[in-house]
C-alpha cells in the first residue's frame, strides 16, 4: 500500500494551531519557521518510533507499548515530558474505561426488549419458552 507523501506529514493546520497556542497572542510566526517546525515534528516521531522499536525488541516484545515510548523519551533526553505524559496516560485510561462502561450500558439498554420481558417473569422460563 503506497502512502501519499502528505500522509507522512502532520497536517500543517494542526501544527499551526499548536504553534499559535504556544506563543503569546500578539506574536506571529514566519512561514519558513512554521514549515521547519512541522518537519522537525515528523522527524521527532520517526526518531521516537525507531528508539522505542529497539527498546521493545531488546525486551523481546513484538508490540510497542506505552512504557516503551516513555523509556525511549528518557533515552532521547526528553525527561521533562515524562511526568505530564504519565499523567496523561492515567487520564486516558480512565477516559477509556468510562467510554467502555458507557458503551456497555447503551448496548444493554438497546437489547433490553426481550430481557425485560424475561425479567418481568423470572420464574416462568419454561412456560414462556417459544416453540
Amino acid at each position: 500500500m503506497v502512502e501519499k507523501i502528505e500522509d507522512l506529514n502532520i497536517p500543517i493546520a494542526n501544527v499551526a494551531r499548536i504553534i499559535k497556542d504556544s506563543l503569546p497572542s500578539n506574536a506571529s510566526v514566519s512561514k519558513e519557521a512554521r514549515q521547519a517546525i512541522a518537519r522537525a515534528a515528523s522527524v521527532f516521531i520517526i526518531f521516537l518510533t525507531s528508539t522505542s522499536t529497539a527498546i521493545a525488541r531488546n525486551g523481546n516484545h513484538k508490540t510497542i507499548s506505552g512504557q516503551n515510548i516513555l523509556d525511549a523519551l528518557e533515552q532521547m533526553e526528553f525527561e521533562g515530558f515524562l511526568d505530564p505524559l504519565k499523567e496523561f496516560m492515567k487520564i486516558n485510561k480512565e477516559h477509556m474505561k468510562e467510554k467502555k462502561a458507557a458503551k456497555i450500558n447503551t448496548l444493554a439498554n438497546n437489547s433490553a426488549t426481550e430481557p425485560a420481558a424475561e425479567e418481568a417473569i423470572p420464574e416462568e422460563s419454561n412456560a414462556t419458552a417459544a416453540e
Partner: protein, 114 residues
C-alpha cells in the same frame, strides 16, 4: 504548559501512519500511539516557546530563532540537519579559507606563509 485533556491536536491516525512508515516497525499499541501523539504536541510546544524566548527582540518567530535553539540544545542534535543554521556564501568562503590556512600552518615546518 501543554494541555492534559484527553483531546488530540494531531490525529492519532496520522501518527500511526507515520510510525508505521518507519522500517521494520513492529505492532504498535493504541496507548503507544496516543503517547506519541501527545509527546509530539509537547515537542512542538516546547520547540516553539523556547525558540521564541531565545530569539532576538521582535514579535515574530523566525527560522533563525529555531536554528539557533536547535544548535544550542544537546537533545536536539537529531535536528541539526533538519533545521541547519544558514550562512551566506561570503561566510562560507571565509570559513573555508580559514580552515585551509590553519591546516597549512600546522603542516609546514620551516616555511613561512607568503
Amino acid at each position: 504548559m501543554p494541555s492534559l485533556i484527553a483531546d488530540f491536536q494531531i490525529p492519532p491516525s496520522r501518527i500511526r501512519t507515520i510510525m508505521k512508515s518507519t522500517e521494520d516497525a513492529a505492532n504498535i499499541s493504541q496507548e503507544a500511539i496516543f503517547l506519541v501523539a501527545k509527546a509530539t504536541e509537547m515537542f512542538i510546544n516546547d520547540l516553539t516557546e523556547k525558540s521564541f524566548d531565545k530569539g532576538k527582540k521582535g514579535n515574530t518567530l523566525k527560522y533563525e530563532d529555531l536554528a539557533e535553539y536547535v544548535n544550542d540544545e544537546n537533545n536536539l542534535e537529531f535536528l541539526l540537519q533538519i533545521i541547519p543554521k544558514k550562512m551566506s556564501v561570503k561566510e562560507y568562503l571565509e570559513m573555508a579559507t580559514k580552515d585551509e590556512r590553519e591546516s597549512d600552518e600546522s603542516t609546514s615546518e620551516s616555511e613561512d606563509d607568503k
